[in-house]
């Protein structure tokens, strides 16, 4: 399967925990090329992973975790003997809480009040933490009993002791005839110097990060006293997660609201490494002149990120990639202005960022639940798949976006020009700001010929989201506010059978 190779790689790349997740996960959304290999038993992946880590003397620096239908102490012991030291449970504790496996988690009708937002049903929830504690106590007790039988005092002693596993002799089904378990039950011959369970912490070399070398100390006046700072630095692609440590300090000191906009300005020149600006709060502004790698602005929480080519760049910005894949994944708030094309899965699971780009790859805005995406150029295929919230505007120069690129399962489209003036002005002002920040030639062109450019913008709106927004507006007109208005809108939709 190759999972051992992957594990060795991530262990070298300083992973703290490696999770081998077996059985049901990943079976639905896998690409066609790997779906035949998804949903395999954790026993296979775990054995291979543990053996590979041992052979490369990497086992002692990572925690190996496994999950996938673990339900009993016996399951845990077997997982441990095959090499795991941490164990994930989900289904079984859920059952102890009262889950009846109705498989209606997506319908908001969970009758026992677990997977529902409906207050009438949430009232029916009869479970409690004690039941989970009780269940876990039983699991632990069963583990303890088995350990006593096997002669182990601690989990650490037991990790990877496949020699304690025996094949059931009673299996004489004809299908079992050709099966050879020796690879699973193999224990690599390594010396006593090789640790067989997690014994040391990974050195993440954080002291070498750009934040710890430069940014954090230069941002101190801002963090301590709210004083605006301007930090100019070169950047190279080994500088990963630039700004995140500084952002964490801002959040620690100032809470979720961060600092006033543009308090900490970080101006970078060069090619930034992965995850620039990840999770950064309000008050931080990154301006990258050059390009950025994957995961730009992942989980962005209020910060502002500007990426633009150098002034002397010979490329046509809206035809060339400037940032990698999966930018602004899971972002919750903030702004982004990217003068160029970004990779695949742009703004997947975005719930609040307002982003302007000049082109994007496949699966844009997938599973987006909020925020705004304005794309001034071409997109890849499958745009808006599973998009349940937020709004997107695409400059559809060739007029083929809806017919060839958009996934229409959950969204509706409108020509921008049919929207109200307020909305058209909003798009125009966003382009204006994009030009201010990036000098985008594409933006300038569009503004120069705005009346005909506006004709080519398509608005993408999730159907359910639109209906809820409408209900919310009605509730607010009735004088309801805040959560009350949201609840009223929600109930109106439930009553209508949505």
């Amino acid at each position: 399967m190759g999972v051992g190779t992957v594990a060795a790689g991530v262990a070298k790349a300083k992973a703290d925990v490696i999770l081998v997740s077996g059985y049901d996960g990943g079976t639905g959304a896998s690409p066609r090329s790997s779906i035949q290999h998804a949903g395999a038993p954790w026993e296979l992946g775990l054995a291979e992973t543990n053996q590979t880590l041992l052979l490369n003397d990497l086992r002692s620096r990572v925690i190996l975790e496994t999950d996938g239908q673990l339900k009993t102490g016996r399951d845990v012991v077997i997982a441990c003997l095959l090499g795991a030291e941490e164990f994930g449970f989900a289904t079984a504790p859920l059952i102890t809480l009262g889950c009846l496996m109705m498989r209606v988690c997506h319908k908001n009708t969970c009758p026992v009040g677990i997977a529902t937002q409906d207050p009438r049903l949430r009232e029916k929830f009869a479970g409690g933490a004690d039941a989970v504690v009780n269940f876990m106590n039983f699991v632990a007790e069963e583990i303890r009993e088995t350990m006593a039988k096997l002669g182990f005092r601690t989990i650490n002693e037991m990790v990877g002791r496949v020699d304690k596993l025996e094949l059931r002799k009673a299996i004489n089904h004809w299908k079992a005839k050709g099966l050879d378990y020796s690879a699973i039950l193999h224990r690599p011959d390594v010396g006593p110097e090789v640790g067989t369970y997690c014994q040391m912490k990974q050195d993440h070399l954080l002291d070498r990060s750009l934040d710890n070398r430069e940014i954090l100390k230069r941002a101190m006046p801002a963090i301590e006293n709210g004083q605006a700072v301007n930090i100019d630095l070169p950047v190279i692609n080994t500088d990963r997660v630039v700004g995140t440590i500084t952002g964490a300090e801002i959040s620690r000191k100032h809470g979720p609201n961060g600092l006033p906009e543009d308090t900490v300005k970080i101006n970078l020149a060069g090619s930034a490494g992965q995850s620039l600006g990840a999770f950064c709060p309000k008050g931080m502004t990154f301006t990258v002149t050059g390009d950025t790698n994957d995961y730009l602005g992942k989980g962005l929480s209020g910060g502002k990120i500007i990426v633009r080519p150098p002034e002397d760049s010979p490329f046509v910005a809206h035809e060339n990639v400037i940032a990698g894949n999966v930018c602004f994944y899971g972002a919750t708030a903030g702004q982004a202005f990217v003068s160029g094309v970004v990779g695949e899965r742009f703004c997947v699971r975005n719930s609040g960022v307002h982003a302007v780009v000049e082109g994007l790859g496949d699966h844009g805005c997938e599973y987006m639940t909020g925020g705004l995406v304005l794309c001034l150029g071409k997109t890849g295929r499958n745009f808006g798949a599973g998009m349940s919230g937020g709004v997107a505007y695409i400059y559809d120069e060739e007029g083929d976006f809806v017919s060839t690129k958009l996934n229409t399962e959950m969204v509706k489209t409108y020509p921008l020009v049919e929207c109200d003036d307020h909305e058209i002005d909003l798009i125009k002002s966003l382009i204006t700001r994009h030009v201010e920040y990036t000098d985008s030639p594409r933006g300038i062109d569009l503004l120069n010929d705005w009346s005909s450019a506006a004709e080519k913008f398509v608005k993408i709106m999730p159907e359910d989201y639109e209906r809820v927004l409408f209900a919310l507006k009605k509730a607010e007109e009735r004088g309801l506010e805040g959560d009350d208005a949201i609840q009223a809108a929600f109930e109106e939709n439930v009553a209508a059978g949505h």
Binding site: L100, M102, T109, P111, D118, R120, K124
Partner: protein, 493 residues
């Protein structure tokens, strides 16, 4: 199912009963006709559960949980909700030969295990079932379906209760020539004479019998195997014999005064009553059994309830029902969780009627009968009872009399409804059938073959007294095994 939010929008509403004071004036069924739209609405309450316990038919804590014949309940609930009645009927008949019986008399273990019951009153499965088949008959959708081919095999089914009828129906569908023997004058067994008319109208039983006759089943009445016809002759004349003779031996109460005039087994009383109704079509002529009498019913089960309802219709002077167990709780006890059969206090039709007429629930819990007292002519005049407590003795609970609680209640009629012990001995002895420790005919569940080759046993005769659905379950399964025995393979479910 079709409507995920149905259970949030509609409350449980069974087909309503006629008012007690109204319905005790006649012997017609206690239910009102069903309202199609309301039943459809009730069908929408079904939740399309991931694990629909309603059709599992498990045994939990010695009680049925879910439908013993595995009715495809979520499917026909949905079809009814969508108004596809004819499809629902086909789906219902797939597993149930006689939904018009179970829809009326089944205690509905399906509803006890309905997942909706975890949070609110369960889906009205029984009412929906009954509505589907009633509509089917009303629309003329239920017509004789004789088998296309005959196998040439001949099978005798002894007993025409629900097990015998189900066996006969299935074997006939498989193309065998079936003859059903019944010792009573009419077909139906307990369905006919055991269950009173207000619970299951006898025309409904006859309607199904007529249908089966039209499909080619031969019914022979007033012929008791072992008396009128030797059981051995069946072995000679038929390729196989399926015994479905029921567990008709009633539990007696051998106490002082048992021989007094006026002390009867419940089944005698109910049988005479229904016979009278069928023969005379007139209630006045046979209502002397309980008319103007103080009636005591001993036993708190369904048969006891039927005695209460029947006595009330006879115009009894008073009615008392004695139950040795304590009054069940209003809601499930902690040791009786869903999806077990809910052991909770219920007001059945007979008690409801007695309460309307006499002002109170006729049931007395934790009481034991000590003796019957009589007058000089040997007529019953009273029942001496006492209160009891259940005490643990030698590792089991036994009833212990509460000192000073003995008292006499007036009674000119007493009916013993304390259950049944097992099958009668006639056929078993003649054929030399092996019996189990409870005197039932020995045949493994799933195989149903007795110790005599080609002879099968099913229903109460094999499992002891039980529900109509279990009888249908066993009848169907025994038919399958009989078919396999005769043909070497079977396609019966």
């Amino acid at each position: 199912m079709g409507k995920p939010t149905g259970f949030l929008e509609h409350e449980r509403q069974s087909i309503p009963d006629r008012s007690p004071l109204e319905r005790i004036k006649d012997w017609k069924e206690i239910h009102e006709p069903f309202d199609e739209d309301k039943v459809r609405q009730q069908g929408s309450r079904c939740m399309d559960c991931g694990t629909p316990y309603c059709h599992t038919g498990m045994t939990l804590a010695n009680m049925a949980s879910g439908c013993p014949i595995n009715n495809l309940i979520p499917e026909w609930n949905d079809l009814v909700y969508k108004g596809k009645w004819r499809d629902a009927l086909a789906r219902l008949h797939k597993t149930n030969n006689f939904p018009e019986f179970t829809g009326r008399v089944c205690p509905a273990p399906c509803e006890g295990s309905c997942v909706l019951g975890v949070i609110e009153p369960p889906v009205t499965i029984k009412s929906i079932e009954c509505s589907i088949i009633d509509k089917g008959f009303a629309e003329g959708w239920v017509t004789p379906q004789p088998p296309a081919r005959r196998s040439g095999k001949k099978i005798a089914v002894v007993g025409s209760g629900p097990a015998g009828m189900a066996t006969a129906d299935q074997l006939n569908k498989a193309g065998h020539l079936v003859t059903v023997y019944e010792r009573a004058d009419r077909i139906g067994g307990l369905l006919l004479y055991g269950i009173p008319n207000m619970k299951l109208e006898k025309e409904i039983v006859q309607r199904r019998v007529d249908l089966m006759a039209a499909e080619g089943i031969k019914f022979v009445v007033s012929t008791e195997i072992g008396k009128d016809l030797p059981a051995k002759s069946l072995l000679e004349d038929f390729d196989s014999v399926v015994l479905c003779c029921g567990a008709t031996k009633p539990r007696d109460l051998p106490i002082e005064g048992r021989e007094l005039k006026g002390v009867h087994y419940a089944m005698e009383f109910l049988t005479i009553n229904t016979q009278g109704l069928l023969e005379l079509k007139d209630v006045t002529a046979f209502e002397t059994a309980a008319n103007s009498k103080d009636v005591v019913v001993i036993g708190g089960g369904d048969t006891g309830t039927d005695c209460v309802g029947t006595s009330v219709r006879h115009g009894c002077k008073s009615i008392t029902q004695l139950e040795i167990m304590p009054r069940p709780p209003e809601e499930r006890a902690d040791d009786n969780p869903w999806p077990e059969w809910p052991k909770v206090y219920k007001m059945d039709y007979g008690q409801e009627e007695a309460k309307e007429v006499f002002g109170e629930d006729p049931r007395n819990y934790l009481t034991m009968t000590k003796k019957f007292s009589g007058d000089d002519q040997g007529n019953l005049k009273g029942v001496i009872i006492c209160d009891i407590e259940w005490k643990m003795e030698d590792g089991r609970y036994s009833p212990v009399e509460v000192q000073g609680s003995e008292r006499e209640i007036p009674a000119q009629a007493a009916f013993l409804a304390m259950g049944f012990l097992g099958p009668e001995d006639t056929i078993a002895e003649e054929l030399g059938l092996a019996r189990d420790s409870r005197s039932n005919v020995q045949a493994d569940y799933g195989r149903f073959s007795t110790n005599i080759e080609g002879v099968f046993a099913a229903g109460d005769m094999r499992r002891g007294q039980s529900l109509v659905v279990w009888a249908i379950n066993e009848g169907r399964a025994a038919a399958r095994e009989c078919d396999r025995y005769l043909m070497g393979e079977t396609s019966l479910p």
